[in-house]
Amino acid sequence: STREDGGDGQDGHEDRVWDVKWSPTGAVLASSSGDQTVRLWTREARDWVCLSTLEGPQKGTIRSLSWGREGNYLAAASFDSTTCVWEKGPSGFECFATLEGHENEVKGVAFSASGDYIATWFADEEEFDCAAILAEHSQDVKAVAWHPTRDLLASCSYDNTIRFYRADPDNADWICCDTLSDNQSTVWKICFNADGSRLAAVGDDRTLRVYQAFPPGNPQGAALPAHSSIYAPCLRNTLHSAINRLVCSDFAGIVTPSASDDKWKCIATITGQHTRPIYSVDWDPETNILATAGGDNIVRLFRETAVQPDTNTPSYELIGQFQAHDQDLNGLAWAPNQPDLQHRLLATCADDGLHVGNHKS
């Protein structure tokens, strides 16, 4: 069920592919699947070949992947409620640690830029248990993303919101420092741009939104949030359990608190393009082109155009769209370190497999 440029797909996943992530150098592509494996791919001449298949410790769909520490670690989050950290060794990747502690499916995982933290997120319990549905609103988190330079974490959820968290130096704890409620339905994916000044979000409402961070005292006059003391108990426990386990495993974490909190504001809303839910978004670090994809099988590329002087906000134009798959696209990722600005390498994964293709920017 796998298609690569020129590849014959014989080493492809045997089930839906949920996530794709490039190693920091762009040399290796990792993919994760409902077949309970992670596969590592590399280019040989024109073909993409499967270097190795990581399997064993996890007995459920592997939903999400994150590379850490210059590509020496790969974290994999599974519906079996564990997160497995793979470590690069002399003879390939070995299971380095299995993070437990979640009671339910782990749906997202992300290494922080410093490599000191792993954030994972999980589902609320018993989602199709009818009694639970009548009892209370469910709030599973769909994805997490770390700021590229700071220890600022963003998460997006089934509860239609995006939240930001940072360490609170006064309490040696984590606090929710901003909440965005522009979305009409589940927010499936969030992604920071290269310098961390913007965040893109996509979701069930078939809309791409771009947020910008406005620092305190900004001339645009965005209101600043009062320092929130709302704790996120799930997150706190999760982070602590992850940190504890990682500290035990020689990842000494140092909290770098933000001097002050930015206020994130929606500066662009792009609707009317995707006809089904949007499941993934990624920002090309070199060209700033946004790629989005989801349930309508189509990848769309957007580029920022001139900033409007009256509102000080940019607009985005659709610069390309193509059908890379015949079924739902679950994830996509621009390859890093691609010096050719005219031809950009994009990996996509879908219910029908995996694809790597070149796109003119």
Partner: protein
Amino acid sequence: MALENAAPRVYGKVQERVTLDNDFDDDVIDPFDSREIFDLVRHINDPEHPLTLEELNVVRLDQILVDDAQNYVRVQFTPTIPHCSMASLIGLCLRVRLLRALPPRFKVDVEIFPGTHATEASINKQLADKERVAAALENPNLKTVVNECLQLDDKYLD
């Protein structure tokens, strides 16, 4: 446990589909139609009663929309009572049945028929969440329940 709806009204069943000579001609392309979708879902067992979704009027032929050219199927269903706690499970069974039976080119929406359930929006949101559906099917207990509902009674087998 007491049943929420102990004595549901039981409805009649449709006649079997009339087969035409064309149906057996491999050179004729038969697009999917709503009757074909209905035949896929009408024998699903109700989780509570020893009756099918057709007999309980939970699924109805006229509440199925099929656009073969656009690869689209929408099945709406009507819980027997507006507070039916089994509505999510019934919806999950419908979704799984169609997932297993239809070619993957189809986009499928399974929804509560508008105005027939107290928490319609929240159930529709759950049923549209592919990640939750996938995770539910990796839950052994839930998978067993769904498979039991989807198990065909002997009388429907050839």
